[in-house]
């Protein structure tokens, strides 16, 4: 009987820092290297512009930073979870997205990331980089590039409201080192 050998047995150990966060009571992980900033929702209340794209309910706000537009993804809607009270925004590095989450749980060190089992065969394959076992728990580790497809970006870009000078002066955020 041939079953793939666990990858951890084939490679020397290397670790990765992840941020554990909650959305509607569900715990997720995201690589800390892919989070550029963590800001409170309150601190961005004046900086976000509303956007109305009926086919993409998970994006209701846009943040403009100079020429850059960040689409704010409501993680609860994205993952199909019950609506929750978002408290934080993760600005994701190397993407044009920011993630609205309930709160941060803790930082943790991940030593092994297992690919999502092949039985999972729908959108979740884009959502997650894989699964990791931490403290007798299994945590899905999100793929920062899996929140919007190229088509969805194009749709959102086309429905952007006219540029306004928002003069973002947000406080209460934490810029994470790269």
């Amino acid at each position: 009987m041939h079953v793939a050998t666990p990858p951890a047995a084939l490679h020397a150990a290397r670790t990765e820092q992840i941020i554990l966060f909650r959305v509607s009571g569900q715990l997720f992980g995201v690589s800390s290297a892919s989070v550029q900033e963590v800001r409170s929702v309150d601190s961005l209340s004046g900086a976000a512009t509303e956007i109305n794209q009926p086919t993409l309910r998970k994006v209701r706000h846009v943040l403009r930073r100079g020429d850059k537009v960040l689409y704010v993804i409501n993680a609860a809607v994205h993952f199909g979870l019950p609506a929750s009270s978002a408290g934080l925004i993760f600005v994701l590095r190397k993407t044009r997205t920011a993630l609205l989450v309930d709160g941060m749980d803790k930082m943790a060190t991940m030593t092994r990331l297992q690919a999502l089992p092949l039985a999972y065969c729908h959108e979740e394959r884009k959502w997650y980089r894989g699964l990791t076992a931490l403290d007798q728990n299994v945590i899905p580790v999100v793929n920062p590039e899996g929140f919007l497809t190229a088509d969805e970006f194009a749709l959102l870009d086309a429905s952007l409201p006219p540029l306004e000078t928002t003069g973002e002066t947000a406080n209460g955020g934490t810029e994470l080192p790269q």
Partner: protein, 159 residues
């Protein structure tokens, strides 16, 4: 498991789902384990309940009862860990079952055109005709997807 030998025949594991019994070719079975904690997370694949941790691996739990019985299991006692093939790859899947399993030897009759895709064949045991399950057709998998949705690298390790 109990075992009865019959020369020249193939080995099967008999499993119970509710009031019915089904068979799986024994070489596809890894082990029978007691219920353990299911970890759930958001996804869009039907029939997947979550994952369990087994021997350091994360194993998806596929509820096949609804497809086979027309209703979900009201009680479960074990997980049957089986090997599911995805093209050239294979991975474990956990099937919730309601009773003890039995290892038997029997001769299989191949499935017919009228049989569902998840029927690999039929065996006769103690006067009962039992479906032999084709797990690759019964459980969800990436081979049912357009290739564009399957990542080129499906096994990521932290080297």
């Amino acid at each position: 498991m109990t075992q009865s030998a019959e020369l020249g025949s193939q080995s099967f594991v008999l499993l119970r789902l509710g009031e019915r019994r089904f068979a799986v070719i024994a070489t596809q079975i890894s082990e029978l384990v007691a219920p353990s904690r299911i970890f759930r997370f958001p996804h869009r694949t039907p029939k997947l309940e979550g994952v369990i941790l087994r021997r350091g691996r994360i194993v998806p739990v596929c509820d096949v009862a609804e497809k086979l019985l027309g209703k979900g299991l009201t009680s479960r006692r074990f997980y049957l860990i089986a090997v599911r093939h995805y093209g050239e790859k294979s991975e474990w899947v956990a099937l919730p079952v309601t009773g003890d399993c039995e290892l038997i030897a029997a001769e299989m009759t191949g499935s017919g055109e009228a049989d569902a895709a998840h029927v690999a064949g039929w065996i006769s045991h103690n006067g009962e005709v039992i479906e032999v399950l084709n797990l690759d057709a019964l459980t969800p998998g990436a081979d049912a997807l357009p290739t564009s949705t399957i990542p080129a690298v499906v096994l990521e390790a932290l080297p």
